[in-house]
């Protein structure tokens, strides 16, 4: 593949130059959590806590049924935000202040929102650093996730025509 084809594979509205501090976005695709991803990923990553995959053992727990694994929920919210905030990312640098509030169950529908907290140059001239704050909600409007995320994103000036 030639570099000249790269920019045609991703969006044109999510380069480093496009992010403005204070902007807030709703990511338009929500997702209903299935055991498909919840249990599969929990097991794929070898999380051994059976409260995520044994319905019977959870009958005596206050929740009464399997709880989804927060690690997957975090990944799902970041995933839902990714086309708008990572499609032109060079690297995920990290996350901070991740808070999980309230239980999430199979069958809940998740929606992600993002606020741009900070933009700054990086050591690379072809990319800049954006710090986002992500919010995750359930179908009843309750907030179940918050977290900050720092991403190294391509500059259009260097990558936009490649």
């Amino acid at each position: 593949m030639k570099l000249s084809e790269l920019s045609g594979l991703t969006g044109q509205d999510n380069y480093f130059e496009d992010f403005v501090v204070g902007d807030v976005m709703k990511h338009v695709r929500s997702k209903t959590l299935e055991p498909l991803e919840q249990v599969m990923i929990t097991n794929l990553v070898m999380n051994t806590a059976s409260g995520h995959f044994d319905e019977e053992v959870m009958k005596s727990h206050p929740a009464g049924k399997r709880l989804s694994f927060g690690g997957v929920n975090i990944a799902m919210f970041i995933g839902m935000a990714s086309q708008d905030t990572a499609e032109n990312a060079i690297a995920e640098l990290g996350m901070d202040r991740i808070r999980l509030q309230g239980p999430v169950f199979h069958g809940d529908t998740l929606t992600a929102y993002t606020e741009v907290l900070e933009i700054k140059p990086s050591e690379r001239e072809d990319a800049g650093i954006v710090r986002f704050k992500h919010y995750g909600t359930k179908q009843d409007g309750s907030i179940v996730f918050e977290g900050e995320r720092t991403v190294l994103i391509k500059r259009r000036s260097h990558w936009g025509t490649r």
């Binding site: 990923i41 794929l44 070898m46 995933g79 990714s82 901070d96």
Partner: protein, 200 residues
Amino acid sequence: MHHVHVGFLRPLAPTDDFAHSLSTSHDKQRKMSQDIIARAKPREKGHWYEDFKLGREFVHHWGRTISQAENALFTTLTLHFNPQYTNVEVARAMGHPDTPVNPLMVFNTVFGLSVQDLSEHGTAFLGVNELSFAQPFYPGDTVFARSTVIERRLSSSKQGMGIVGWHTKGFNQRGELVCEFKRSNLVFLRDPGAAKEATR
């Protein structure tokens, strides 16, 4: 020639017995041996609040080699649309030798490997601070995890539980750091009656 009469090799003719077994009500089904149940010792896993002395280190079990199939599965199921994880030509054009494994999968795997030692007897996973990715992780690489206890206190609102914090690190097969984070969980006390003595 031997005529083997192992159960599952018997012809499954629709005999009266067989038909009966299909219609047998639930309470007439064979029950598990009560003697075996009585003698079976639960092979308990994990640790409890009392085990988490400040500074204690855990080298977590198993390690995990991650394949590109798993990376693609994780990335697509979580709707993570950065093509460098699912298109090797894009990854190469961006300077990688292969598609990097989605960092959130690396994080989830390091977390997963730590669960038996840290939070198998936990409930609420409260949060993560200072998650950072030190370098790309590629298909075929193997991740190992270890953790240190950095915080412990009894819960003021939930009796019989404490809050424990750990600093967890993931390393590749060369021993290089790939990911680290701090997380905290509500963890059950082994002996809630001794809660007053279980001080830091």
